[in-house]
Amino acid sequence: MICQRALSLLDDFLDNELPPADAAQVKAHLDGCPACRQAYDESRRLKELLKQKGTHDPGRDYWLETSQLILAKTVQLGGPSLAAVEAVSDHRGAFVQALVSLAASLVILVSAVIVGMNQSHAPDAGVSGGPLLLSSSVGRQLNATKVIITEIERQRLAKGMLLMGPPGLLGHVGGLTQLRIVTTPELQ
């Protein structure tokens, strides 16, 4: 087997996808050809490293919040009704209970936000256009004039992807344009 042929089969050899006879020929060539052997070793090492490539676990809260956000977005599209969400609450325990109350608040909230957006001013965070979804963890930090949010939440807010729940919020939604957004890296 010549080098060109061996190199053309290298990927399949590496992935164990060659017929045994071809694999044996490639192996014999690699044993006798340092240049091709080096190419193979580099490819093998690269594949091993890619397999080890790390990922992130953003944490349990993230998955819960993201589920809520997706459901909230599909509620806007005529998606899961509150009844549907309640139907699965038996299986999901406290989380879905919280989700149900959140979804209920959201329906009111979205309406209120849309009313708020009809006003001519944009909030300090620079968000304009499209419905604004706000976060429950942020809701706890709310007072009459100031919202404290994390950097991540700020970026999600800017993308219109942040969900803010009911505690203390509903009374302030009408005054959203006056809210000051303060970012903190630690608050979660």
């Binding site: 990927d11 580099e42 890619l50 992130h56 676990d57 953003p58 997706i70 950097e151 999600r156």
Partner: protein, 193 residues
């Protein structure tokens, strides 16, 4: 009793939104991980997860003709991720934003039993790999990630991209060749140790 994926999909297509909720719960981590590998930062991965499921919700009628929900889902996610990559081209590359995420956990199996210096070296090497991946065009990058990181087979990737297997083989071959070229010095050093 836990319902199977085909059962859930069938119910979802018929309008059972609780089934959709269940599907989101079962697949969101898979989509996040894939998107994170491809885009390299939490915010974009997060956006892909949300947009993918919203799009699937909108396309639920299409699911009647789909053999494998997982493949369909990954196809929607990768299409959106590729759009994001193309939009970002010229603006920024893979953002290494791990430091900005409080409480975030870096999961890297190779680091479990490593000494601090090995860990540092491994992290540096992984950063180099991420940067090297950044040089690849979206389809090549995605093919390498799906195959070599996520473990998808070539036929599965062909199904996801709706393209011939020969295209997948070609993309994978070129991607590996480019990565080897960029990382050659590092790969050789590693071999010698």
């Amino acid at each position: 009793m836990n319902k199977t994926i085909p059962e859930l999909v069938e119910r979802f297509v018929k309008g059972d939104n609780a089934a959709f909720t269940e599907l989101v719960g079962r697949f969101q981590k898979k989509i996040y991980t894939l998107a994170y590998h491809l885009l390299g930062n939490h915010l974009d991965a997060d956006e892909v997860v949300q947009e993918t499921f919203v799009r699937v919700y909108n396309k639920r009628e299409d699911l009647k003709d789909v053999s494998y929900f997982s493949t369909f889902l990954v196809r929607v996610a990768t299409n959106y991720a590729i759009d994001l990559l193309r939009k970002q081209k010229g603006h920024r590359g893979i953002a290494q934003d791990t430091a900005s995420l409080p409480g975030e956990i870096q999961l890297d199996l190779s680091q479990r039993v490593a000494t601090p210096s090995q860990t540092f070296e491994q992290k540096r090497l992984m950063d180099e790999i991420n940067r090297a991946l950044e040089f690849l065009p979206p389809k090549q990058r995605l093919t390498a990630i799906l195959h070599d990181v996520e473990g998808y087979s070539k036929p599965e990737i062909a199904e996801i991209f709706n393209c011939p297997q020969a295209t997948v083989r070609s993309n994978l071959h070129i991607a590996r060749m480019k990565l080897r070229k960029i990382l050659r010095q590092r790969l050789r050093l590693k071999e010698q140790k």
